[in-house]
Amino acid sequence: MNIPMLVGAGLVVIGAGIGLGKIGGSAMNAIARQPEAAGKIQTAMIIIAALLEGLAFAALILGKA
């Protein structure tokens, strides 16, 4: 087992988790404040989540190679 790689993967996932949690939490707040803008907020949330996910996956794949 490649211990440093596994630790790195864990760190990446922790970082991505914090980021996703912040995005989701802020989106929930925003929707609670302005329920009529829920659609727009959701789209923006998904885009930012996707960008973050891309970074996390890039780190995981570069770590594997």
Binding site: T43, I47, F57, A58, I61
Partner: protein
């Protein structure tokens, strides 16, 4: 609703291009696969001990890895006891001092050497190598084969899947376009397609690219959306198709977005890259290489996201199914495994749509960034 007729031509053009380019992208996949370091155990005893201990686990890992790779034949399932494979063989097209076309059944799933016009080829870990009549493969220090590799333009499993999806897309959208001739309301399957097309137009293309310029890019966005979505959904079937989880294909798709973005970019876009307005001159010089690199990281993130998401989904589903075989108590493992597989499969249905949507969304976002007019610059 005339717009759909013109888009159709673009759609078919892109489908053909995708299929052709992906064949060539296989060489990219080859080089990526060859850089993967093989698992090297320190001593042979350790290997044997490991194999005895985790033989079932190793077999499952090998099976999953085999599934994730492209292959030269379409195997639905194999009978291990008799060594028989159920499926069909696909054409092999090689360029090796002339065109060589033969059926992949000649390889007998990598067990035998295929002889064509005095040349001999052998399948080794999914790659075709040129060998002598006995099929000897020589290795270098890193256990990579040193045999010559002929140019491989074969119709592989992935290419077959993509051709299938392209034909499905052509059929679906031709019938939809035809139905608009009879009246404004589509009939049959078009009733499902129309809301999706309107969704891509109103929620993805127009907000990101802009009311004036979005039309030119609708053909690409719709094609890429339905292409990825259908392939993701096909990957959920037990046919063993894994196309969007193959990095060569996602590289190809991201390359399309990259090329379209760069070629439709206006002078504002290039101005923001090479000579950022509104910042001091030393900062402009520092920012130029960073911004230039930024144009490359965008499609890179795009390709890695799709590839990693679909690969991860396939691995998770197959691992959960494999729980049936590693556990000792079948009666207890079967319901747990089936329940978890069902749960993840439903999530993967969402992911299949979401990844196609995200790819389309970000493509249109990048195109929109390249074509938009920067009115705010006057205020600086």
């Amino acid at each position: 609703m005339v717009i759909f007729k013109n888009r159709l031509r673009l759609l078919s053009l892109f489908c053909t291009l995708l299929a052709v380019l992906t064949v060539q992208a296989q060489s990219v996949n080859d080089s990526i696969a060859s850089t993967e370091t093989p698992v090297v155990a320190t001593t042979t005893e350790e290997v044997e001990h490991h194999e005895n201990h985790e033989e079932g686990g190793n077999k499952i890992t090998a099976f999953i890895e085999h599934h994730l790779q492209d292959s030269h034949d379409f195997t639905f399932f194999s009978d291990e006891a008799t060594g028989k494979h159920y499926g069909f063989s696909l054409p092999i097209i090689l360029w090796d001092n002339g065109l060589k076309v033969f059926s992949s059944s000649k390889f007998h799933h990598g067990e035998t050497v295929a002889g064509v016009d005095g040349n001999y080829y052998k399948l080794y870990h999914g790659k075709i190598y040129k060998t002598d009549a006995e099929g000897t493969i020589t290795y270098d220090d890193h256990h990579h084969p040193t045999n010559a590799k002929p140019l491989d333009f074969s119709i592989t499993k992935n290419v077959v899947s993509m051709l299938l999806v392209s034909i499905m897309l052509l059929f679906m959208f031709t019938s939809l376009a035809k139905s608009y001739k009879r009246g404004p309301i589509p009939t049959g399957f078009g009733r499902i397609l129309e809301p999706l097309i309107i969704f891509i137009r109103d929620e993805v293309a127009i907000p990101n690219i802009g009311e004036k310029k979005y039309r030119k890019y609708m053909g690409y966005l719709l094609t890429v959306f339905f292409f990825i979505w259908l392939l993701n959904l096909l990957g959920m079937t037990p046919l063993g198709i894994n196309v969007t989880g193959n990095i060569a294909i996602t590289v190809c798709l991201a390359l399309f977005t990259y090329v379209i973005t760069q070629f439709s970019a206006n002078k504002d876009y290039w101005g923001h890259i090479f000579w950022m307005p509104g910042v001091p001159v030393p900062m402009k010089i520092i920012l130029a290489p960073i911004e230039l690199l930024g144009t490359l990281t965008k499609p890179f993130a795009l390709l890695v996201r799709l590839y990693a998401n679909i690969t991860a989904g396939h691995v998770v589903i197959m691992s959960l199914i494999a729980m049936i075989f590693v556990g000792k108590n079948l009666a207890a493992d079967l319901p747990i495994s089936l329940a978890l597989t069902l749960f993840i499969s439903v999530i993967e249905l969402l992911v299949a749509f979401l990844q196609a949507f995200i790819f389309t969304m970000l493509s249109s976002l990048f195109i929109g960034m390249a074509v938009q007019d920067h009115h705010h610059e006057e205020h600086h």
